[in-house]
């Protein structure tokens, strides 16, 4: 027998021996309320059976169609979960504002991506745009010019299928970048560990994050509680404990974040990672003045981009307030305890 190549790799251990891997994921992560909707499993599934979008992760016909490969379990950040937290390791922290782009705060996410494209470090990046209803829509950015679109920059407080688009990009290109919430960044690191192909993800920009929402929940909540129709919104933001919806007519609706408790997805309630500790660079609004973004450079690749931005004078810089970021990291640990308190578990059921 002639054999060209033989390759062996480990499979994750099943916790429910009789079930297929998706059955394991469903029992241990999704039905246990730990799923953060990062859609890593949906992106890796070879039979494209796992659905994400604006509904809980599911694989309607898994008993029949799951080929039991274990890939979803390998990449899921909530399988064998221990929360990450704190500020994480970093090389440099600064506050900055892009001179070229308009974004949520200082548009530094956009600036980092545009500069990385210019430097040739990546040749495409996955971004989250939106439709007029504020439903998220994933787009692939190939040139900095695309980033002048205001629907592409700015924060959308809803789940987005970034990772399925990232997988497609990785198959097409050698050097890809993406922007995502901390849980997505952690998932991508797991994907990189499990499957070499994902080493092609050269730039992972993490956003500071306390929670995210299902689009339909957020939409209905804002309409019912504050009579604010997202279709008329031009910007959404969270500032000083208030969710702010800026409407077309210039008025602003403010709702305390505390009131959102009922629509916070269970997966976010067990998450303690505020500062995206696994990213190449983490960017957020707290810790810097209005109109500026806080930038935490964690890895060499991001440091090079920051040096390039300085050299080209694409951005202006200020002093950051790291203690505010630290405060929010601690706050997140406090409001999302691990293991979850008994009372909370009951209310979920």
């Amino acid at each position: 027998m002639m054999i060209t190549r033989e390759w062996q790799f480990a499979l994750p251990e099943k916790k429910h021996k009789k079930k297929k891997y998706f059955g394991n994921l469903k029992a241990e992560v999704i039905d246990a309320g730990l799923c953060c909707h990062c859609a890593a499993c949906a992106s890796i599934c070879p039979v494209n059976g796992i659905t994400a979008g604006d509904a809980p992760i599911d694989f309607p016909n898994w008993i029949k169609e799951c080929v039991d490969c274990g890939a979803c379990v390998k990449v899921c950040p909530r399988w064998d979960y221990t929360p990450k937290n704190g500020l994480g390791e970093y090389i440099e922290v600064t506050a900055a504002r892009s001179k070229r782009f308009v974004g949520q705060d200082g548009a530094m996410v956009t600036e980092f991506t545009a500069s990385a494209l210019e430097m040739g470090l990546i040749d495409r990046a996955i971004f989250v745009a939106r439709d007029s209803n504020w439903r998220t829509r994933v787009v692939t950015i190939k040139t900095p010019e695309q980033l002048y679109d205001r629907k592409i920059t700015g924060t959308k407080y809803s789940y987005a299928d970034v990772l399925p688009a990232l997988k497609d990009a990785v198959l097409k290109s050698e050097a890809v970048g993406f922007v995502g919430t901390p849980c997505m960044v952690t998932a991508v690191r797991k994907m990189q560990q499990a499957f070499k192909k994902f080493e092609r993800v050269k730039l992972a920009i993490g956003l500071f994050c306390t929670e995210n929402f299902y689009h339909h929940d957020l939409y209905n909540f804002l309409l019912e509680k504050a009579n604010a129709d997202l279709r008329n919104a031009v910007k959404t933001d969270i500032k000083k404990g208030k969710f702010i919806v800026e409407l077309k007519d210039g008025s602003k609706v403010r709702i305390p974040v505390k009131d959102f408790e009922e629509i916070i997805p269970s997966g976010c309630k067990v998450c303690q990672d505020f500062a995206a500790v696994d990213s190449d660079v983490s960017i957020g609004s707290v810790g810097s003045a209005n109109g500026f973004s806080t930038v935490m450079v964690r890895r060499e690749v991001a440091k090079n981009i920051l040096d390039y931005i300085r050299e080209k004078e694409y951005a202006e810089f200020r002093e950051p307030k790291l203690e505010v970021v630290q405060k929010l990291c601690d706050h997140k640990i406090k409001i999302h305890p691990w293991p979850p308190k008994k009372k909370e578990e009951k209310s979920e059921e």
Binding site: M1, I3, T4, E6, W7, A10, V47, F195, K196
Partner: protein
Amino acid sequence: MIRLSKVKTDPVENLKRHAEAIGEAVKQAIKPDRVTVEYPRERRKYPECFRGFIVFDKEKCISCFRCAQICPANAIQMEYFDKAYPGIDYAKCIFCHFCVDSCPTGALNTSKVHDVAFKSMDEMRLSAKQITKVPEIVREEKQTVEYYVDRNVWKLVRKKELDRLEVPPKPVKVKERRAACTEPESCLGCRLCASVCPQNAIKVEKCEISIGEEVTGTGCVLQIQTDLCTGCGLCVRQCPMQILTLEEVGE
């Protein structure tokens, strides 16, 4: 304004033209010099490259689906006997012969039969078994007819030849290729490649992983047996991580 008036005819001239026409008719009846072909009794001689019905050689087919995949008219349906073989629906086929050109082993070849004449739509759908032979056609004269102008005397000449329907076997110019994995470190272990391979040349199986003597857990093993592989490329198209390719082998 256009005025149409009745044509005045000269009776003498008229009679003369009638006589001429009758004369021509008599001449054609005795020694015809028409340019039409009396199809189906005889048929025209077509150029060598003219594409006809497709003939299929079951022995050469490796069930790679390439013909079915490339057909722009969706005329090819794979049928399952011991393996998958192509059947052709001539109601759809546009005679582009992409399938013939794409067949890596020369199992599909052209023929010199071009008579697409069927009695019903159902009859036009030919199964793999039906296309293994050139369709039989009965002609009274096994002749082809060709017309050309003889430049010496500037006259149209009608040339008859014996109708030859056999086609030389198609030369197979494809290089030998075998499946190979470029990046096994990215394999999902999904077995899609193994399940699509008509040759069972790929194995993706559960195995025990051990360090030294001690079994440490379960794993998966990916194996390609190149001696079984025909180079059809089905697995390459199937792999969701795009880590399989065809590598050229030999000199």
